[in-house]
């Protein structure tokens, strides 16, 4: 037995089977075991987040030590400083995200930046839609028609002036969107189950790495 490869495959199979059995049998011992597994999973994921931080330190630490990318290394230093500040304030006080200082920094920096970064993608989407959705062919025209109708139906001033736009939008999200997405979800469901079974049986081993 190759303990570098076979034991991980056995772990995947065992844990996956317990999760599935918990759903289909409802036996108390299996349910309790799966609860334990879920809690362990949360703990291991916590450690995995630290792995991300280590990678971030390696990448940006290298950039700082080599003074690479013009002035970019300064931003790397700032990035690490910000990360360290959040960790020190969060863990140092022992209150995690509930501390007043942490909340203050969170509301001043993380919240506005997250909301603005996320919402400002609308500009790029609008620009991208201008370039992509120009009705060059029948397929693009289909995309364009529903996109424009939904945007107009979602615009309060237009929908208030022409209520038909609102009802058209509602109708599009009824039979057309639910019909197509239902088909896609059934396909995704079948694909996920097949891929899951293949992985549990050790036929997909990409997650073990190449080394």
């Amino acid at each position: 037995m190759d303990y570098r490869r076979d034991i991980p495959l056995a772990i995947t199979f065992l844990i996956g089977i317990i999760a599935v059995l918990d759903y289909y049998t409802g036996v108390q011992v299996i349910t309790d075991t799966f609860t334990l597994i879920k809690n362990w999973g949360v703990v291991i994921q916590g450690f995995a987040l630290g792995l991300g931080a280590v990678n971030l330190l390696r990448v940006h630490g290298k950039r700082i030590s080599q003074r690479s990318g013009g002035t970019d290394w300064m931003f790397s230093g700032w990035l690490l400083l910000m990360m360290a500040m959040f960790i020190v304030v969060g863990l140092g006080t022992g209150q995690y995200d509930a501390g007043p200082t942490y909340s203050w920094i969170y509301n001043a920096i993380y919240l506005p930046l997250g909301a603005t970064m996320y919402s400002s993608l609308a500009f790029y989407m609008a620009y991208g839609s201008y370039k992509v959705l120009r009705a060059r062919n029948f397929d693009a025209a289909l995309l364009f028609i529903t996109a424009v109708l939904v945007i107009m139906g979602n615009t309060p001033a237009l929908a208030a002036t022409f209520p038909g736009l609102f009802y058209t939008r509602e109708w599009i999200f009824g039979p057309i969107v639910s019909g197509a997405y239902r088909g896609i979800r059934i396909g995704i469901g079948m694909g996920a189950v097949v891929l899951g079974i293949r992985t549990l049986l050790g036929m997909e081993t990409g997650y073990l790495g190449r080394r």
Binding site: A19, F47, A48, L49, D97, I105, P175, A192
Partner: protein, 206 residues
């Protein structure tokens, strides 16, 4: 009267800085971008440690020593940085993959398959004409969009029968267009929130 709260000023600065990329890439945006990545990483780590405490350490403190296995597996993740013992990181990864797949199989069978098939398998003839038309369109959409993903039978995409997956593709394009429009509008809605923040809480002019 402009706000005098430093928290509002910092939030306003980062709101404007994050938007500045809409004009061109610039130093202020880079500053905001790196700040965001740093605080996001820091926040994630703090929450991760909190989860380790709540879901692991608390149990150990109560005498459930079996939870120390989770800590051991977590530490093994860092073996990937070791040249000789890197393979040890496969154990916790295998645990996480097994857990994730087990949960996703359960969810996929139930919500992506059974629920969707059950929702489609309803009478096509409704009490009103519009309801019947809608049910027919939905049914056609489901069947044709599934047929578009049949790759094991190439002939289904050829000849007269090829119109079935083609209709499926058209239905999906219509649906994607609607999703796109909805996403654009929801993002603009969020951006309006940021503009209102600037005008109301920072500049206090509305």
């Amino acid at each position: 009267m402009v706000s005098v709260d430093p928290q509002i000023w910092i939030a306003a600065f980062f709101t404007i800085a994050a938007t500045s990329y809409a004009f061109r890439d610039n130093v202020v945006f880079k500053f905001a971008e790196n700040t965001f990545i740093g605080v996001a990483a820091g926040h994630t780590i703090v929450m991760g440690v909190k989860n380790i405490r709540d879901y692991g350490w608390t149990h150990i403190m109560q005498g459930e020593m079996i939870y120390s296995v989770a800590f051991l597996l977590g530490i093994l993740l860092y073996a990937r940085f070791h040249r000789d013992y890197y393979w040890l990181y496969r154990y916790p990864i295998a645990f996480l993959v097994g857990n994730g797949i087990g949960i996703s199989i359960r969810a996929a069978i139930h919500s992506d398959f059974i629920v969707q098939v059950a929702a489609t398998a309803s009478p096509l003839i409704k009490s009103d004409a519009l309801g019947t038309v809608n049910a027919l369109i939905t049914f056609v959409g489901v069947v044709t969009s599934i047929s578009h993903f049949i790759f094991t039978q190439e002939k289904i995409h050829e000849g007269a029968i090829g119109i079935v997956p083609k209709i499926g593709r058209w239905m999906m394009l219509l649906a994607f267009g609607a999703s796109f429009g909805n996403t654009v509008m929801s993002r603009f809605g969020m951006y309006q929130g940021r503009i209102i923040f600037l005008l109301r809480e920072w500049l206090q002019i509305i």
